[in-house]
């Protein structure tokens, strides 16, 4: 009896409550919410998690079997890291890695600077309808497919009837001159993505408490000082988040941009070959699924490691801005 009267410590009460609220208890009590999440979870399991197991292809000499994919997988023999060895010892490995990294670094930098710039410019516009016109026109390229954009670019760069050659009175065979393409690809890629990113930054700028600006105005800050001391610092968390996510994808080049826009021109391979096009070309020309899978796995693993490293650095500098 006496034992029952002894007051329990808060920790003991919390532990008892936790014990009572076990997994089954939580499933039952959160049933309706779990049902809401179920379709998304099923979709994720089928299209994200189950395909992860197919990465074993990267460690096999894949042979097609008429009995389907699983049978092919079972019948293919293990080759360990042979596919990776083949990938890294090929001449293309360094080139595609370099191209993928440099282009993506370019995109991350340009997208960040230009998107923030346009977001700030839009936030300073007082004519609301004009802002909507700018937003819509900037967002339009984001929704265009690379095939359509490829033809737009063709209209400009066609050696015979292209707008650029006509305007400049030149006769440049754009699709055979690699020196121009790093700039063209960076420009087109940035142009397509800028509207979407600008809107994200613009929404954040619009959410900044206007009294910060009023206080700064009274303190004597001009427009540029307000942008430098209020707007940009307030955008830093989003800039960091977007950069971490972009770094996680730094080994994932935009296939449409690098394949469709240069029209898969062989003369441009040195500047347009990236991991994604290399995997695709490898698959279509040699049919070597094992090596393509190895390249794809390499892409994912490096991307994941980079994301973790970047996030760890950000967390050390400013824990509030870190992704996790």
């Amino acid at each position: 009896m006496e034992e029952n009267n002894v007051a329990q410590s808060p920790e003991a009460i919390a532990a008892a409550a936790k014990k009572k609220e076990g997994l089954w208890y939580n499933i039952v009590h959160n049933g309706p919410f779990l049902l809401f999440a179920l379709p998304g979870a099923i979709w994720m399991i089928f299209f994200f998690y189950i395909p992860v197991f197919a990465n074993v292809v990267a460690f096999k000499e894949f042979q097609f079997s008429p009995d389907g994919f699983l049978a092919s997988l079972a019948q293919s023999k293990w080759v360990g890291f042979q596919n990776f060895k083949f990938l890294f010892t090929s001449d293309a490995a360094w080139l595609i890695t370099k191209n993928t990294l440099l282009y993506n670094l370019g995109f991350i930098t340009l997208n960040l600077i230009i998107s923030v710039f346009f977001a700030i410019v839009m936030s300073e516009l007082r004519h609301k309808r004009l802002v909507k016109v700018y937003q819509t026109s900037m967002l339009l390229p984001y929704f265009l497919s690379w095939v359509i954009i490829g033809y737009f670019v063709m209209a400009f760069l066609n050696p015979d009837k292209g707008l650029l050659n006509t305007m400049l009175h030149t006769n440049i065979n754009w699709y055979a001159e690699p020196k121009y393409w790093p700039f063209i690809l960076l420009f087109i890629g940035t142009w397509k993505g800028i509207g979407y990113n600008s809107i994200l930054y613009f929404a954040t700028v619009m959410g900044i408490d206007p009294t910060y600006y009023e206080a700064a105005t009274v303190d004597g800050a001009n427009k540029w000082q307000q942008i430098k001391n209020i707007t940009i610092p307030q955008l830093v968390p989003l800039m960091t988040l977007m950069s971490i996510l972009a770094v996680g994808n730094i080994f994932r080049a935009d296939f449409g941009l690098f394949y469709t826009v240069p029209q898969n021109s062989g003369a441009l391979y040195n500047v347009t070959s990236v991991l994604d096009t290399y995997i695709y070309n490898g698959l279509t020309s040699t049919g070597d699924i094992g090596m393509s899978s190895a390249a794809s796995l390499y892409q994912s693993v490096v991307g994941c490691i980079l994301l973790l490293i970047t996030n760890a650095i950000v967390r050390r500098l400013d824990s509030d801005s870190a992704l996790f």
Partner: protein
């Protein structure tokens, strides 16, 4: 020496109709080192007026003269003002030191001078140990002090404060109120303070500007505004709990209301009404809760202003108690001594000190004097 003149100031917002002014005909002379409080309900135009003085809103009509200079079109930074905002407006990415130093850095003060000024303000406000913290790591009261510190370091002769205490809890508000009053006495700045809290206005102001619907209702010292309200709005807004109002008919020195309340006015009060031509007319009688008494001595003095009432709700506040009472259909509240506390349902005899009663014209709501 800084004096501020607001000469017939009007404010109309860009999308408002032609005669729809947020502030109309605001006319005020503010003396050097004066502590002026704009008070009124939400949407009365008090913050808009303050923002016009700060330069954060354009003035539609009228003149703003600061220190003898026409300042309607002067940029906020050139008006030599410091402002404290309701939500503090502290830059979240800067430390307390940087927040306070920001205005000085922009004005290109040298580093030693900035440090000296910030250290002084931090010392005055008790913030020295928090200088390296960011606003998120401060309590509401500390944040408010940083906001005050940001104004202090500027050495501006004019302080504008836009409801600076409204985000604080009741206890902290009282202590910060005293702190702001102390700062005003130490710094000798001309201060314009906006609040919707009449207690803040009464306790802090040299003069109060009571506003409603964009118009100034009365300008005066707290005592003037409390004791001689110009109209029914001011009488009802200043004082807590609000003044009791009764729609009554006045005839031959007696007021009666439709619910059966009958009170005989003292000679001096009925003379005022007679001379103003209100005999046999409807007027509004106003009396503050603290001017309704439960003591027997008051009943002996004013037997014809004593009523037998029933307590509907009672609140014991410590030294005093509030009795929400009813006489027939007429309800009112009285603040009486705690000894005269009664439970709901009790019958209590209450005496109206009609020498302190106020009368208002039923139509114009202006005070009858």
């Amino acid at each position: 020496m800084v004096e501020i003149d607001l000469n017939h100031i009007y404010k109309r917002y860009a999308n408002a109709e032609e005669n729809n002014y947020a502030v109309s005909d605001f006319d005020l002379h503010i003396k050097d080192k004066e502590f002026i409080v704009f008070v009124g309900p939400s949407g009365c135009g008090k913050s808009t007026t303050l923002r016009m003085i700060a330069g954060l809103e354009d003035i539609t009509k009228g003149e703003l003269i600061i220190d003898g200079k026409y300042e309607n079109d002067t940029a906020p930074k050139d008006r030599n003002i410091a402002m404290v905002f309701q939500n503090y407006a502290l830059y979240p990415h800067m430390t307390v030191f940087d927040n306070m130093a920001f205005g000085l850095k922009l004005r290109k003060y040298d580093k030693d001078k900035i440090k000296e000024k910030v250290d002084y303000a931090a010392k005055v406000l008790g913030l020295t140990e928090y200088l390296d913290r960011k606003p998120a790591a401060l309590s509401g009261g500390q944040r408010q002090r940083v906001a005050l510190g940001r104004a202090i370091v500027r050495d501006a002769p004019i302080f504008l404060m836009d409801e600076p205490l409204s985000n604080l809890d009741a206890k902290l508000r009282v202590s910060m109120r005293a702190e702001i009053a102390r700062l005003h006495q130490e710094l000798h700045t001309t201060t314009i303070y906006v609040t919707h809290d009449q207690t803040e206005a009464m306790t802090m102001a040299d003069r109060i500007v009571v506003m409603s619907m964009g118009e100034v209702q009365q300008i005066g010292t707290p005592k003037e505004v409390y004791e001689s309200p110009k109209n029914k709005f001011v009488a009802g807004f200043i004082g807590s709990p609000s003044m009791n109002f009764f729609d009554v008919h006045y005839k031959d020195g007696i007021v009666t209301d439709s619910e059966g309340l009958t009170l005989k006015l003292p000679e001096g009060r009925s003379k005022v009404l007679d001379e103003a031509g209100y005999d046999d007319k409807d007027v509004t009688l106003g009396i503050r809760p603290e001017d309704i008494h439960a003591e027997g001595a008051m009943e002996e003095t004013f037997p014809e202003a004593t009523v037998e009432s029933e307590v509907v709700v009672s609140e014991l506040l410590g030294a005093t108690s509030m009795l929400y009472s009813r006489v027939d259909g007429t309800e009112f509240v009285a603040i009486v001594d705690a000894r005269d506390y009664h439970k709901p349902g009790d019958k209590v005899r209450l005496t109206f000190d009609l020498n302190k009663a106020h009368f208002f014209d039923e139509k114009t709501t202006d005070a009858i004097r």
